[in-house]
């Protein structure tokens, strides 16, 4: 039996229901309860699985293997690794009964860390391909503004997260490496995402811009969630049902919508 046909519009509606439902469950389920754990752990598996399926459809819609197909393939591989990480995390917490707040890093983190390479590569391939295209890059002064803002963000991350983590004697060396890895890798991911977001804004409401716009929104949601998580987890303030989870789930669904938009865009030219 084939999975039902999903469109970007259907997925948009699904996201509009799923994310508020997720929030509602977080509000009403008791903290620390098994049901909270199930919702907190299975929602990201569901949303990342949806993203993987949509990315696969987008990848298949390209015939020739060019830079565009390569970048979508890399994003698909990265999202599959993220999905494996979410699944591993759920398995370890729910079935292996491991206290994930005490055990860091775990096998799930190995998958998450490995996901960054294809994701970052995919985004930079998109950026590089655009730069080579000869299309306008927009207002160059704004790039200086971006660079200034990024410098401020990087400085804050270093001052308020990386340095305190490094100086914390209670955190093991391996945990420190992983705590440092995530925000640094996220910065490499968010830089092309923000640049591409600005570039797509130059297209206005034109149809070409929609896939990349949703893709960059998805990655920005996930990067913000990662940064918040790093701070909270290091301070032992993260637990199941934390509202940060909503950003990850929304991020995965935005990536799924981006992929379906891309597929629909290509198919619209086949008619």
């Amino acid at each position: 039996m084939l999975p039902p046909m999903i469109t970007s519009k259907n997925l948009g509606w699904t996201a509009a229901i799923l994310i508020p439902l997720n929030l509602l469950l977080f509000l009403i389920l008791p903290d620390g309860s098994l049901s909270m754990r199930y919702v907190s752990d299975f929602m990201p598996i569901l949303t990342s699985l949806i993203a993987c399926y949509c990315l696969f459809l987008a990848f298949k819609s390209f015939k020739t293997f060019d830079h565009t197909k390569l970048s979508w393939m890399l994003i698909l591989i990265g999202t599959i690794l993220n999905m494996l990480a979410e699944s591993t995390y759920a398995f370890l917490e729910i079935y292996a009964h491991i206290d994930m707040s005490e055990s860091f890093p775990t096998l799930a983190d190995v998958f998450w860390c490995n996901a960054y390479l294809p994701l970052v590569s995919g985004m930079w391939v998109l950026y590089w391909a655009y730069k080579k295209s000869g299309f306008p890059m927009g207002n160059t002064k704004l790039y200086w503004l971006f660079a200034t803002l990024f410098s401020i963000v990087i400085s804050c991350v270093i001052l308020y997260l990386l340095i305190p983590v490094m100086q914390d004697d209670e955190t093991t060396l391996i945990a420190k490496i992983f705590y440092l890895f995530y925000p640094v890798a996220d910065l490499f991911l968010v830089i092309p995402a923000v640049i591409l977001m600005y570039i797509t804004s130059l297209f206005g409401t034109a149809i070409l811009s929609k896939p990349l716009r949703f893709l960059t929104i998805g990655f920005i949601f996930m990067t913000v969630a990662d940064l918040i998580y790093s701070v909270l987890d290091w301070q032992d303030l993260y637990s199941n049902g934390n509202y940060t989870d909503l950003l990850w789930n929304a991020g995965y669904l935005a990536i799924g919508i981006a992929a379906l938009r891309q597929k629909e865009l290509i198919e619209s030219f086949k008619i």
Binding site: D66, L208, L265
Partner: protein, 79 residues
Amino acid sequence: MRQYKNPLAQKIHEIMLPLVGEFMAGGVLKTQSKNIGISEDDIKPEHIPSLAEAIKKGLTLFLGSDVANKVCDQIKMIK
């Protein structure tokens, strides 16, 4: 919609408009015309193939090579 004095420029603009929007369509036509040493007002039929190929390069990122080729062919058919 932007209006060009040159009918060939106008037709290219009209093909690109729904795909990339008003700002980008104008920007791309201006940049790619400049790259081949002319302005939008000076576009002649012999310039169309190179303009089409240059525009195709940018569209490939968003559409993939196959579909970008179709748009390129559409531009090349302009007379």
